[in-house]
Symmetry: C2
Subunit: 325 residues, 2 copies
């Protein structure tokens, strides 16, 4: 394989998709963005995805044979043996053989990863991960995603990607979760759960700044709106977010007790908008609930790479897979 081989990373999100082309040293050569439009169905999304990939390669003026491979991050569990997407609720996908479909159309090796696994790997290699022995990524958003890089590789099940942090039990017999069970971390500490509580507080008159910013429709309660409402003095909003962040911290403590990671990376929109609050509460949750022996050994850090974590991670992962097959 020539030294000039390039790698393409794609982050296929619920709202947008981002493709980025990197050289062999993972310097960015070109990138393109596109709306996902999942409501139009898998065929339309895959068509746009193929076009986005082609455009990104064209932008860099790269001949097809110089592309070493394509790595994709998708929002849901994947079959690590076949590269099929097992389920991606935000896209309405179930058991979609994405790797096969794209390999056929793109004439290039393709690997499919869970997006949080890819993002955590990105941070591990190029961000705050310091290439540590064990790095855990926690990404609270609409749901709560998790990923783990152990001894340089994604920690995964025999067949499935794993680290479904959002469905660890946070509260016995707690709130109804999207998965149909009760008390999952995601049902209590995701942005959606926070938004629901904040909209109720706004309705009750406890969050006047938020009420003015958004009204009571929880779809309008974005991460940055929460940050603005807190800055404007809505103590109820701060309360609700701190409580959710602390619950994430308690779950993180459980993870510390179990697998003793060296670094926990917090990422996603909520953490970007409210970094200080999240770092404080997660550290405190760990301090109170992890074994003392382990508390001081785990570093809690905010992600550094933002939107580029997953594309960098996916590109680097496919490069690794091609180098050491």
């Amino acid at each position: 394989m020539s030294k000039a081989t390039c790698w393409l990373g794609v982050d296929l999100g619920g709202t947008k998709m981002l493709a980025a082309l990197f050289n062999d040293k993972f310097k960015l050569l070109a990138e393109r963005k596109e709306k996902t439009g999942g409501h139009e169905g898998a065929k339309a999304v895959i068509g746009r995805l193929q076009q986005l990939i082609a455009e990104t390669l064209a932008e860099a003026g790269l001949p097809a044979k110089q592309l070493g491979g394509i790595g994709l991050g998708v929002p849901g569990p994947v079959n690590v043996q076949t590269g099929a997407v097992i389920s991606a609720p935000n896209l309405g996908w179930h058991n979609l053989p994405l790797q096969k479909i794209l390999e056929r159309s793109c004439h290039s090796p393709v690997r499919v990863y869970n997006d949080v696994d890819a993002g955590t790997y990105g941070e591990f290699r190029f961000g705050v991960g310091e290439q540590a022995h064990c790095v855990v990524g926690l990404f609270p958003g609409t749901g709560i995603g998790g990923g783990c890089i152990y001894e340089g590789k994604i920690f995964s099940g025999q067949e499935h990607s794993c680290f479904e942090v959002g469905h660890m039990q946070a509260v016995p017999d707690g709130r109804l979760c999207g998965c149909g069970r009760h008390g999952c971390l995601e049902a209590h500490a995701s942005r959606l759960a926070i938004a629901a509580d904040c909209a109720a507080a706004a309705y009750r008159g406890q969050a006047p700044a938020l009420l003015e910013l958004t009204g009571t429709d929880l779809r309008d309660v974005k991460s940055r709106t929460l940050a603005k409402a807190i800055a404007a003095g809505d103590s109820a909003v701060e309360d609700i977010v701190r409580r959710a962040a602390r619950q994430l911290g308690v779950a993180a403590a459980g993870i510390v007790n179990l697998i003793a990671p060296d670094i926990i990376v917090l990422g996603g929109g909520l953490v970007e908008a409210l970094e200080k609050l999240y770092l404080e509460e997660v550290r405190e949750g760990i301090a109170q609930h992890a074994m003392p022996l382990l508390v001081n050994r785990v570093k809690v850090r905010a992600a550094q790479l933002g939107d580029h974590a997953s594309v960098l991670g996916a590109a680097a992962l496919v490069a690794e897979a091609r180098r050491k097959p």
Copy 2:
């Protein structure tokens, strides 16, 4: 190294220690048992341990040069780099450099492992573990121990053994744990927690069979006593044990969501005495709290090797370490 190399495994427990000598195919050649007597201090215990090792070798008539190494399982977290015992509350040990001490006196390579890690490895290699991709061991006893074998090796922290399942949070603001925090799984679901609840039930007249068998001193409530009381019709005792077993199952579900193991091995005295009940409740806890995708893929099994799991595992681990240094 000659084919006739032998390996010694030692399980250093809070009450007794067991040493077993195996040939290169892990056939048992000799074994000896001794009381631990931890109250007499580390020096006395180590003296007895050295004697036990010497006697076991003598029993097999083995010349020292044929011993490939000694593997020990100890009841507490260990430093995986140095083989020091970080803490073993049942022995009153803190930061004891056990590997160094024994290597000096035994003139043989020594490796120190957490006992549940060693036991889980034993089951992985020689018991119910089927040499699977990922095997988790859960051993409820006085505390609740956990271990994980991932891709053929003990899953561990950079410096420490890990998988401290007993200190995952089971109940927010729950019962006081031995570690000083509240709501740990161990504080709710260990044999000690069960014994405390059962002794109270006996005192209240809700567990007449248990009251006759043991009185109200929770030190007398052993695993087999619980099984006898349940068999004799103490429904309150069954209730208490089922509740604890279910809490273990909920924690197991969290582990399933996180790391998607292929097999969960349940072991220890409680499971030996009440195997059916434990298998039922842990399976049900997983069915109700793990992601549906993962529920049917994880097997829940009772350990097969009993007391031999840790000695076999420790011997096989030191053999592996010597073969691939």
